[in-house]
């Protein structure tokens, strides 16, 4: 669920707006370096995919949660493109679908694009180094990254709420509720992210950005006739 207008006070909303703008500016430079003139169409289509993936609902207790997709987009398309894709999805949702307030756009970009992608990608890179250098490690690392990225985002939200929240709720209650709830959502996010990355790895491993260093290590294997049986 996106943060609506009026949830955080005006100074906090403006401050997160500045953070979001800076983060997106850095991602713009990174994505240009990575994709050159392909950036616009490729990131546009990946953003559309992320939007579609966020429509997947899964049951969490009595209600339902949906995929955030930060870690998934980072592993599949690279962290810079992922930040751009998620930010554009949030922009379209705020301006064309009335989902998430316009003054809370900076907050939503910070929480859903910057935090999930940064935490998800950092976790993924660390795990990729620790786990055995095999393609089978990629979905596992992606799943753990997705699991950690969701409660982290909730934790940052709780911190923002402590600074600029407009309701007198005890901070420990906010942290317990937000992080506890999002740990459950994180489990669903982890399972779906891991399975989706595994399915792309099994058919088109060359498209998985996070697997490129591992794919580069592969050597051509030539099997002589008759030895395969």
């Amino acid at each position: 669920m996106h943060v609506p207008d009026g949830f955080l006070d005006a100074p906090t909303s403006l401050a997160t707006g500045v953070v979001a703008a800076a983060g997106v500016a850095v991602a713009l430079r990174g994505a240009r370096r990575e994709l050159d003139d392909r950036t616009a169409p490729m990131a546009g289509l990946v953003a559309t995919f992320v939007f579609a993936a966020q429509m997947i609902n899964f049951p969490v207790g009595p209600t339902s949660g949906h995929l955030l997709g930060g870690a998934l987009a980072a592993v599949l398309a690279g962290p810079w493109s992922a930040v751009l894709c998620l930010s554009v999805v949030l922009l379209v949702q705020a301006l064309l679908m009335a989902d998430g307030g316009v003054t809370a756009l900076g907050t939503n970009v910070t929480l859903i694009a910057l935090v999930t992608v940064t935490v998800g990608w950092a976790t993924f890179v660390v795990l990729r180094r620790v786990l055995p250098s095999r393609p089978a490690s990629v979905p596992v690392a992606a799943a753990v990254a997705a699991f950690i990225s969701v409660p982290s985002s909730a934790l940052v939200f709780a911190a923002l709420f402590a600074v600029g929240g407009l309701a007198p709720v005890d901070l420990s209650v906010v942290i317990t509720a937000m992080v506890g709830w999002h740990t459950l959502i994180g489990l669903g996010e982890a399972a779906i992210t891991g399975l989706v990355v595994a399915s792309v790895m099994s058919t088109r491993p060359d498209l998985v950005y996070g697997a490129r260093p591992l794919i580069a290590l592969r050597t051509l294997e030539i099997r002589a006739a008759g030895m395969t049986r």
């Binding site: 609506p4 207008d5 009026g6 949830f7 005006a10 909303s13 997106v24 713009l28 994505a31 240009r32 050159d36 003139d37 392909r38 950036t39 616009a40 169409p41 490729m42 990131a43 546009g44 289509l45 559309t48 995919f49 939007f51 579609a52 993936a53 429509m55 997947i56 609902n57 899964f58 049951p59 339902s64 599949l76 751009l84 894709c85 930010s87 554009v88 999805v89 922009l91 379209v92 705020a94 301006l95 064309l96 679908m97 009335a98 307030g101 316009v102 003054t103 407009l166 309701a167 007198p168 709720v169 209650v173 669903g188 399972a191 779906i192 399975l195 989706v196 399915s199 058919t203 498209l207």
Partner: protein, 222 residues
């Protein structure tokens, strides 16, 4: 799919609000919402004035209330939170209709509900009166980086194609006795999502090649 041009929230019309310059509409929305967000919780007359401004704009735009009202359900999860606040917040307790609630929590909940509802209604009004292409032009005029505007343009152009593809995949799964919501069938759902990613990525490559063959040099013509 097959809904013609425009997007789900657009309401076709020729009112002054529909014809207003998109960058001015975006600035007006942002300005109004900044004022609403900065309004202290106790200033109820200010909220009434803000609502009246918004209602006047909707009146001029001739978008029927019956069109906007059902679309406000998007704020339901948030409204549930705002209604929960009086019960979880601290502070002195007061009795409302025989139920003990926190007084500051009650005020905060009502304020949140007021601000959030004004925000949703204002955003809906923008979306109902502005074509997506005009929103893009407005953002461009306001100095949004070119790359963000183009990515957004591609997303708007292909969103119905990709979500249509997803919904056909889900129909196919359901017709084979598979429930995409149930964790038991997540492996099948994930394979469909993986296929959707590959198709989207390859569509992006084809779009890029088609653009190159029409003389694309890295920036879109204005």
């Amino acid at each position: 799919m097959g809904a013609g041009h425009g997007h789900r929230l657009h309401f076709h019309g020729h009112s002054p609000i529909h014809r207003a310059a998109p960058h001015l509409k975006l600035l007006a929305l942002l300005g109004l919402m900044l004022v609403v967000v900065a309004t202290p919780g106790a200033w109820w007359p200010a909220f009434v004035v803000e609502v009246l401004v918004l209602v006047a704009v909707i009146g001029v735009s001739r978008v029927p209330v019956g069109y906007l009202a059902p679309r406000m359900v998007i704020e339901l999860p948030f409204a549930a939170f705002a209604l929960l606040l009086p019960f979880v917040a601290d502070g002195p307790r007061i009795a409302v209709l025989g139920v003990e609630v926190s007084e500051p929590g009650l005020h905060a909940g009502l304020t949140l509900l007021a601000k959030g509802s004004i925000g949703v209604l204002a955003s809906l009004t923008l979306a109902a009166t502005t074509e997506p292409q005009d929103v893009l032009r407005g953002l461009d005029r306001l100095g949004m980086p070119d790359l963000i505007v183009s990515i957004m343009g591609f997303m708007i152009r292909y969103v119905d194609v990709v979500t249509g593809e997803l919904s056909r995949m889900l129909v196919a799964m359901r017709s084979r006795g598979c429930d995409p919501r149930s964790p038991r069938h997540w492996p099948a759902l994930a394979r469909a999502m993986g296929a959707l990613f590959i198709r989207s990525y390859e569509r992006g490559e084809r779009v890029h090649l088609a653009m190159l063959s029409r003389g694309y040099d890295g920036s879109l013509p204005r």
